[in-house]
């Protein structure tokens, strides 16, 4: 399993469009993805789950991957969060 901590810094947080980008990217990997905020862990391929994390600006997330391509997956997903979900 690979896991890494990352901070949400964009203004809107993990809102609908951001969550959609995250889920799309997560879906391109084979491994299982989990996203944790505080006490709550959600499936990283579930847009509803990500929305339920209610991760506003400043939240800390732990992204973990479990499977053959876990390293690449966690890298890519953390990168997306770091780039503020590519929000314009």
């Amino acid at each position: 399993m690979t896991a890494r901590r990352v901070a949400v810094r964009n203004a809107l947080g993990l809102h609908a469009r951001a969550a959609a980008r995250f889920v799309k990217l997560a879906g391109s990997f084979q491994c299982q993805i989990r996203v944790t905020r505080g006490a709550r862990t959600m499936d990283g391929k579930s847009i509803l789950g990500l929305l339920l994390l209610a991760a506003a600006r400043g939240s800390e997330l732990v992204i973990s991957g479990d499977g053959v391509d876990e390293v690449a997956a966690v890298d890519a997903l953390c990168g997306l969060v770091d780039r503020n979900f590519e929000d314009p």
């Binding site: 579930s46 847009i47 509803l48 209610a54």
Partner: protein
């Protein structure tokens, strides 16, 4: 084993497994046999693919016409569609709990709703709208273009019993009642349109069970008695055996009454009484003839407005339906009432539900507003007329002048289309204003038909579907009887045939009063015909006239029923099982 008690509204005994239907029967719940699990999972997968295609289509259209930012809403919905918390969860529920896909989906969406509702964030709570949207689309795609309950009853192993919060008449009309043997419903009254329909089909029904849909679980065995209102949930072996015996006995009693079928109806002193049948669905015409009816006294054409492709939409389809009906009954008469609809929430065309605006533009008032629909129906009727003995009945007439105008309009429609005039056009007497001025109507009507259900409602100012007023809707109320007497006298003086329809006409006790008031023609549910014949054969016309005179002087409905007691006793002795239920509820 649990005993529940509701109001028995349609006689009969039913034993079968429960199928639940809530929210206008859009939401159905049942338990699968283990062999059915794979089919339900496949149904869910297919629905998901259909929904995906639709959402992709919508998304690309919105992106072209509105803009890509707006299309993002549907991109998010597409992701929800594949969300493990939604479809995978529903799939899990189908497997683990052996429940149907509709129910599994309902539960998965419900769980998510709860999670979202708990969040304080308003923005997040707003996402529930998208979730509900996707959920509803998925559900529709489980059985595309079909009523889920109708579809389900056709594929389940019979016999089943439908347990509903409230079953809409348009759904009830499509169900195969040879498979669904009974109905248990949370709300409803003896005069709810669905109940009228089920009574005419002879389907055992118990209504007003309160929280029946909460207490009864899908797949549980139920036994119900539509005359006493008893419902037994999960009866033990012995009880079940006893109920099956009762069901057999009820059928035997029915057969004995069927022997009366070929005898014409008459009082004990030989006064002929004409008994015709109400017809709810055109396909039921065989049943009408079997019951020994002397014609169709009332065909409520509003049913043609229901469904995904209503017959009423085209003139051709209507002509075909009317012709089939007329030739099936030939040479007996068929009375077709023009659409009595309008003002109901949503679809202005939908027929006779509980929410119809009772004082709105309905009957011939709507005919004036929805001119084209009325014109189409009149043309169709005129084109079908030569297939049998057609009588056209105009509903909800309130003033003689209005009737005169509509008749002129009808003549004009027929003339413009180059068709022969309609053979007979009559007026429905269902508003006190009309009942009080029958003499003014006579020049413009070839016959009259008294619609007692509405006449009682309007006379007593009681909405008969309002549960809170259950005891207030009273056919034997002195005001109603006096009004009916006036109608009988005025029609006779004017030389116009008059017939009584509605629940009251099929009541084995009140029909004796009606004969005493001077009526000689009735239209009722086919199932009521043998019972009414039985009553009439026991009553002398002179005694009926005396009875009516006393009833007209009675100060209350209770006094009227007291007058009817000797007759009730006589009937109970002759046919114990058949009258017990109906005397109580009238």
């Amino acid at each position: 084993m649990t005993h529940l008690h509701g109001r028995g509204v349609a006689d009969g005994i039913a034993v079968g497994r429960a199928v639940l239907a809530v929210r206008d029967a859009r939401q159905v719940r049942y338990r699968l046999a283990s062999s059915g699990v794979e089919r339900e999972r496949q149904r869910l997968r297919t629905a998901r693919e259909r929904t995906r295609v639709e959402l992709e289509e919508i998304s690309s259209r919105v992106s072209r016409t509105v803009g890509s930012a707006q299309a993002a809403i549907f991109a998010a919905q597409l992701l929800m569609l594949d969300d493990p918390l939604l479809t995978r969860r529903a799939d899990e529920l189908i497997r683990a709990e052996r429940i149907n896909a509709d129910w599994a989906l309902e539960r998965a969406v419900g769980e998510l709703h709860e999670l979202f509702a708990r969040e304080g964030d308003e923005w997040l709570r707003d996402r529930v709208g998208d979730l509900a949207d996707v959920g509803a689309r998925l559900r529709r795609n489980l059985r595309p273009g079909r009523d889920p309950l109708v579809d389900l009853v056709a594929e389940l192993e019979p016999p089943v019993v439908i347990v509903a919060d409230e079953l809409p008449p348009s759904v009830a009309a499509q169900i195969d009642w040879s498979r669904a043997r009974g109905l248990v419903s949370d709300i409803g009254s003896p005069t709810h349109h669905t109940v009228i329909l089920l009574r005419s089909l002879g389907v055992a029904s118990v209504v007003g069970l309160g929280g029946g849909t909460d207490v009864i679980l899908p797949g549980q065995m139920l036994a119900l008695d539509g005359s006493t209102g008893e419902v037994v949930v999960e009866p033990d072996e012995l009880t079940l055996a006893r109920w099956r015996d009762r069901a057999a006995a009820a059928e035997a009693g029915q057969r004995a009454l069927d022997d009366l079928r070929l005898r014409p109806a008459a009082t004990s002193d030989g006064v002929r009484v004409r008994l015709e049948a109400n017809l709810e669905i055109a396909e039921e015409v065989g049943r009408v003839r079997d019951a020994g009816a002397e014609g169709i006294g009332l065909y409520r054409s509003e049913f043609l407005l229901d469904g995904a492709h209503p017959v009423a939409e085209t003139e051709e389809a209507q002509v075909e339906t009317y012709r089939a009906l007329l030739s099936a009954m030939r040479p007996l008469p068929v009375t077709i009432r023009t659409f009595d609809a309008g003002g109901r929430r949503g679809d202005p065309g939908a027929g006779g539900g509980g929410r119809r605006d009772r004082f709105g533009p309905r009957g011939i008032r709507a005919a004036v507003h929805q001119n084209e629909r009325f014109r189409r129906q009149i043309r169709a009727l005129a084109r079908a007329a030569d297939a049998g003995d057609l009588r056209v009945l105009l509903p909800f007439v309130t003033a003689a002048d209005e009737l005169r105008q509509v008749r002129a309009q009808i003549d004009e429609i027929v003339r413009e289309a180059g068709l022969a005039p309609l053979p007979a056009v009559g007026a429905m007497i269902e508003v006190p204003a009309a009942a009080l001025t029958v003499d003014h109507f006579a020049p413009h009507a070839d016959f009259f038909s008294v619609g007692t259900n509405d006449l009682i409602q309007y006379t007593l100012a009681v909405d008969r579907t309002d549960e809170r007023l259950a005891g207030h809707y009273e056919p034997a109320a002195p005001a109603v009887l006096r009004l009916l007497r006036r109608v009988a006298v005025a029609a006779r003086r004017a030389g116009r045939p008059v017939s009584v329809c509605g629940e009251m006409a099929g009541d084995p006790l009140l029909v004796a009063v009606l004969v005493g008031l001077g009526f000689r023609s009735f239209s009722m549910a086919p199932a009521a015909i043998p019972i009414v014949k039985r009553t009439l054969a026991l009553v002398d016309s002179g005694a009926a006239a005396d009875l009516a005179r006393r009833a007209l002087r009675a100060a209350s409905a209770a006094d009227v029923y007291a007058e009817l007691e000797p007759l009730a006793e006589m009937l109970t002795k002759k046919t114990p099982s058949m009258t017990a239920g109906s005397t109580k509820d009238s």
